[in-house]
Symmetry: C2
Subunit: 383 residues, 2 copies
Amino acid sequence: MEKPEIIMAPGPTPVPPEVLLAQGSPLVYHRGPGYGDLLREVTEGLQRVYHTAGDVLIFAASGTGGLESAVQNLFSPGDRVVVPVAGYFGERFAKIAAAFGLDVRRIDYEWGTAVNAEDVRAALQEAPTKAVLVQHSETSTGVIHDVEAIAGVAKDAGVLMVVDGISSLGAVPYEGDAWGVDVCVGGSQKAFSATPGLAFVSVSPAAWEATKTATNPRFYFDWAAYKQAYDLPSPENPFTPAISLMLGMRAALRRYFDEGPEAVLDRHRILSAATKEGIRALGLDLSGEHLDRAWAVTAVNAPEGIDGNALVAKVRADHGIILAPGQGPLKGKVFRIGHLGNYDRFDIIRCLAALELTLAEMGYPVKPGSAVAAAEGVFAAHP
Amino acid sequence: MEKPEIIMAPGPTPVPPEVLLAQGSPLVYHRGPGYGDLLREVTEGLQRVYHTAGDVLIFAASGTGGLESAVQNLFSPGDRVVVPVAGYFGERFAKIAAAFGLDVRRIDYEWGTAVNAEDVRAALQEAPTKAVLVQHSETSTGVIHDVEAIAGVAKDAGVLMVVDGISSLGAVPYEGDAWGVDVCVGGSQKAFSATPGLAFVSVSPAAWEATKTATNPRFYFDWAAYKQAYDLPSPENPFTPAISLMLGMRAALRRYFDEGPEAVLDRHRILSAATKEGIRALGLDLSGEHLDRAWAVTAVNAPEGIDGNALVAKVRADHGIILAPGQGPLKGKVFRIGHLGNYDRFDIIRCLAALELTLAEMGYPVKPGSAVAAAEGVFAAHP
């Protein structure tokens, strides 16, 4: 089972050889100009990705560590936060906030629903609140929440806007400063196609201000310690960094800027459209709302009589292609195709062809080539 | 400054090509049998390293994250802990405990001193206490504390024994279960010569018991979440793991067991002795107590009139060899040579030769070849 696997799940994603080679090159010692240059290039690249003039901090951790860092650094026990929950990662953010003793005002949605900014406004009007915590891309449903609109509501109410952008950054349009986002958490293993193990956090001036009174305990993820070390003449980490992953991330960002941020977004938009047209051509229903913006992940309702988990398992067993199953209440009911990261058109074609073969074997009526033809139609229209 | 650097600091250490190649190989998807096998091999290897039948958990984090995980999972605010502080990492453990609101009973020593188990006994007798938190190797001074004796005292008092073994595991004899250690934190980038970014924690049954009543907030480092995922039929991580670093760590452990744990210890013992004899032959004084056990790091008093930091900077600038400077009160007064990890005899010879050249240039009277000859004497006696 150590053969290469064809990952089409929403992270980690296939890693380009340049990134793997960078990860396999000798270490740069973490005190000194070599690492200083590396850290500076990666943080400046991420500032461009985030469209922010504010700080971006990098942790050796999964994305969840980055989410926890926001809860630790911004809040004190008892602080009220509004947390829309429309999927697995909304649940996670609410759980982290609860673990740290915050007063969590959930707004519960059926999974697959897009968060409504007016619901957030109403929840903010109920009581004094410190922040809104919300996903940009809810990876479990593929739905993109309207962070721009929600951030506007947060700004109107004078509260912090904290975004889980782990599976959206780089794959979906995002404008940190222009939208008024205070904190946005990202991860290396998503649209950038680096490997997992680095979490990023953007921190606005208002967020820094909030850290000064926040009493939640923190040490490893203490933002101020990172800021102090980054501001040295030769930037450093307060704790030994994951140097190899930083080398990989630099290579990934160089690829990202070589292709061009707009071109990367365009690619994600077209691959998403091709995937969705292919799925529709099979007579399957997409799951979730506002899917014209869902460029990171496509969630599909499993057809009547076919279990989504069984389908995912069979595509993996027969074709080596790893799709993602449904989570929570969507378990067995949907399957998910990740198309964020280092994918090209023929990755989508391959995936749709595998689905045609497997669905037919499972007794679903498939016209061979129909999904592929629909995707080709999208590509032909976007040469 | 991106040229390969010759690291002789106490971590990160030079990484063998097999480990780099493993880190540069394609990802194994983190849900499924491939990753399950990887996780099982690494955790079982670490159990052998720790000499424990208890659990070993692995986090995507620096070693400091592992230390924080112990404070989060074992304690509640107000719990009394005894923390001997005889160097930079003793300070760090005390700071983490204070950040989480523990009642920290420090035992302060001059840096370079070895912790005395009887001091710990006396501190434990003063008031009801939950645990002792102590380094095995105090990296900042090179001194190895007598964890076996201190653990005996902790056991007598019925309190938990929590060890920072980050720079000792694999380099210095350690017997987790036999000594009665409850929790020991390790890191990938030290004696194993993998790259930084993974922290390990061993957890005894008594430590698990303590987690049940510990109220310190935690999420990313919540041990119970890891345990639950490790216990699945195909072991998993609760959060996306640093897959590439796990591939590197597996390669590092395979090397470690190929060489043999006893042979690795023997190598560290001999390289340490050769380093120390070389230093003495130069007429320099070693810094710290009980140095016959200091197999991980050798701290040296900078000679009269030569600043330790300037010496470290010049050895790096002239010869590309990265030594470590003194920290805290030892800043400028000592320099440190790391010899834990993937070093052989001629790495020590090279380092001593560089010191001979640089010290002579800085005006210190050196008999060329004298340090090298002394090291050769040690090697000749241990063919």
